[in-house]
């Protein structure tokens, strides 16, 4: 009763709700679609900044003798009189690049965009459980962005201790200038970011559990929604821990406590702190940090599952296995954190335990890859840009995932830890894979977001430049890493063992610049198509999921009439017997007798009953409401 009540009530409600003014429509909007777009545009902005920073430090690494005078207008005093980058600023660049990419682009820009945009549309809800909280979530993110952005322009530079901000380096201003105000702003920004993530995550979980439309059981949820749902759960459990870690760090920095600090002599004086433990911070940080990498990755995997199935015109292979492996990843991601700390001085016995746990997590990842491959097998593949990026994701996920097997083996990790091998690993498996997921999602859902198509040819060119580009950037890093080149080095010429590969580093930097430049194609395509793109049809990819049953420009409330009911899982592509090669979720089984499988026949009768009742209920409610 409640259900029918709510929806029939909403119908009337939404019919006269279309007079938003500019502010409520584009700025303080509570419409999940607009909030999703806000996250997306902010994410694109950050991606450009983060990418630009990486180009600057790649210039330093690839062309150490280059005169960077031309950057002085932007970086001012950080370029010295001989045109060289300041080493402290180099570290600040690396730190900011990491923070921005991991949190602002691949967490907020990816999960924020697509969880917001797709959850209500794909589960059949009018909006998120709380539109207001959702709006707050974006604006906390915005605030966090503003603070982080301002920190880039501080006189002493932004935080510079690496994106993991290990104390004591991040706690002591004497150790590096970025640990002054820059680090303070970093912590403030991250606190806002945590609040934003929690508000968003709580909303996503509540919405998925409580606001699914009729018939949308968990076994009929698209894999995108499963992915967003599990991502939100991971975030809910791990971000509070980052908050704890940051809180104690704030106390150490500003109030003189000794949670992480002990026995330090710096700048000519012995500090009073004793009894703290620097390794404690690492435990707390990585308890978030490892789940965070899956927060970044899972939405991308969900998006590609959907896109690959649609464009292979085939059901995703092993729907259940996909869900089980995502569940496995979710759970396991909380018990592997210390694999980042094999040589931190932690008890080696703990190291053994975490080695075993870590390699278990490779199994569900492998299962997912095999399922993707089998989905492609005997499909009928359409290479839309979204599809190409999804295939690209599978490729980089394999490449990066396999190197995880080296790193998860603590004996091998002794040599590889904090070398470029790790950099190659996570840029492929996390950076590139999630970025590909993000881009694939943009190409695929652009017609739903803006009612227009992005240009396909440009998309193809963009894909091939990017795909070749990122391999040219990150594949060579394996060689450099095996050769032992450490991370976060301003230059490698100080050591004989790493005073080589100048050619390879130059190549990497050049490839990075080209790849970054190629992203301008996407930016152009995105903004150009937003206004001048070809008008989209209602269901351009001939897809099964619910979002394509909305009008071209859905209003706040998504469906003008009643929310459609769902009668089947989202992957009925190329079902034998059916005329079309797709059957949307809203088509009852009883309407497709020609293609039903034996066990579905039994469901048909049940379904008929429900449909018959539906009519009655509506009538009943209407009379009730009038009275």
């Amino acid at each position: 009763m409640a259900v029918a009540n709510v929806s029939s009530h909403d119908v009337e409600h939404h019919e006269h709700e279309h007079h938003d003014n500019f502010i409520t429509k584009y700025i303080f909007s509570t419409d999940h679609k607009m909030i999703g777009k806000q996250f997306l545009v902010t994410g694109i902005f950050w991606a450009l900044i983060g990418g630009f920073l990486s180009i600057v430090f790649r210039l330093q690494l690839g062309f150490p003798d280059m005169n960077l005078e031309f950057l002085r207008p932007i970086f001012g005093g950080w370029i010295d009189n001989t045109g060289k980058l300041d080493p402290n600023f180099y570290l600040a660049l690396v730190t900011m690049h990491g923070t921005i990419m991991v949190f602002f682009v691949l967490t907020a820009g990816l999960s924020g965009t697509f969880s917001n945009f797709l959850i209500p549309l794909q589960i059949g809800a009018r909006d998120m459980a709380s539109g207001f909280m959702n709006m707050l979530s974006y604006w906390f993110f915005f605030l966090s962005s503003v603070v982080m952005f301002c920190s880039l322009f501080l006189e002493k530079g932004p935080a510079g201790g690496g994106w993991v901000v290990y104390p004591p380096l991040s706690a002591l201003e004497q150790a590096i200038p970025g640990s002054g105000l820059g680090m303070t702003l970093w912590l403030v920004a991250m606190t806002f970011f945590i609040v934003s993530s929690l508000l968003g995550g709580i909303n996503y979980i509540t919405t998925v559990i409580n606001l699914r439309t009729k018939g949308m059981s968990f076994a009929r949820l698209p894999l995108t929604i499963w992915a967003f749902f599990l991502t939100a759960i991971i975030g809910l459990l791990s971000f509070p821990v980052l908050f704890s870690a940051a809180l104690l760090l704030v106390f150490d920095r500003s109030f003189g406590t000794s949670f992480y600090l002990s026995d330090i002599y710096i700048g000519g004086e012995a500090l009073p702190n004793t009894g703290g433990s620097a390794v404690l911070y690492q435990h707390l940080f990585w308890f978030l940090g490892h789940p965070e990498v899956y927060i970044v990755l899972l939405p991308a995997l969900g998006i590609t599952s959907e896109i690959i199935a649609t464009n292979s015109r085939k059901p995703i292979f092993g729907y259940k296995a996909m869900i089980i492996s995502m569940l496995g990843i979710t759970i396991l991601s909380f018990v592997v954190w210390a694999h980042h700390m094999f040589v931190s001085g932690m008890n080696p016995f703990l190291g053994s335990i975490f080695m075993f746990l870590t390699l278990i997590i490779a199994v569900p990842s492998a299962v997912k890859v095999f399922n993707y491959l089998t989905t492609l097998w005997r499909g009928n593949l359409r290479f839309t840009p979204g599809m190409l990026f999804s295939i690209g994701l599978v490729s980089v996920f394999i490449s990066g995932g396999l190197t995880g097997i080296f790193l998860g083996n603590s004996a091998i990790d002794i040599q590889l830890h904090d070398t470029y091998f790790v950099v190659a690993h996570f840029h492929l498996v996390m950076g590139s894979a999630s970025f590909f997921g993000l881009v694939a999602g943009v190409y695929h859902w652009f017609p739903k977001m803006f009612g227009r198509m992005m240009d396909e040819k440009l998309g193809h060119i963009h894909f091939w430049l990017t795909f070749v580009g990122i391999y040219m950037v990150f594949f060579p890093m394996h060689y450099i890493g095996i050769a032992g080149f450490p991370r976060r080095y301003y230059t490698w010429t100080e050591f004989a063992f790493s005073d080589m590969y100048t050619d390879l580093n130059m190549f990497v930097s050049a490839a990075a610049i080209i790849t970054f430049a190629a992203q301008m194609i996407l930016v152009f395509n995105f903004f150009y198509s937003m206004f001048f793109g070809r008008k989209a049809s209602l269901n351009p990819w001939r897809s099964n999921t619910l979002e394509w049953t909305t009008p071209l420009h859905p209003q706040h409330g998504n469906w003008p009439g009643e929310i459609p009911s769902v009668y089947r899982w989202p992957y009925d592509y190329s079902k034998p017997g059916s005329k079309e090669d797709f059957i949307p979720q809203t088509i009852p089984l009883s309407a497709t007798p020609e293609s039903n499988l034996p066990h579905e026949e039994k469901l048909v009768n049940l379904e008929k009953e429900i449909i018959a009742e539906e009519g009655q209920i509506l009538v009943a409610n209407e009379t009730k409401e009038e009275s």
Partner: protein
Amino acid sequence: MEEKLSYEEGAVQPLSMHPKKFALWLFIVSVVMVFASLTSAYIVRQGEGNWLEFNLPDIFWYTSAVIILSSITMHWAYVSAKNDALDMLRLALIITSFLGFAFLVGQWYSWVALVDRDVYFVGNPSGSFLYVFTGLHALHLISGVIFLIIVLISSLRYKIHSQNMAQMEMCVTYWHFLGALWIYLFMFLLLNH
């Protein structure tokens, strides 16, 4: 008709809770994670040695009693609301808020007691952790008291009664949670200080 309706509901909405209540539970989960991580950090750090030993302030026993009492009065408020005993509801809410306030004052005196024993926020982490636990819990309790006052105001406006319990129920849940959280922290400290 009624029968069919419930069938309909059961078939399509396998799990459905008031979304705001559900969100509150999720919020509680995240608060649990904050304290779980801090108490784990405490244990990890304690295991490394160099740990200042001191006795917990006795006042914790009193504040614990106060907070348990406040949970009881909160329950009383809940029952009253359910029975539409509005005056009783208001009284119970006022008493609960007052007890919450008393708890906060008590916690403040526990800090005074700590300072008397030369245990400061800045110093050995064993003391610092204690301040962080109590301080962070107190912050949450303040938010609980504010919530109580909001509920009290709605009850004065006749917005809370047996047909409109959502806000009340959320407040009850949150308040009991804060009580349980403190009892957990206290037990934890008793066992591990």
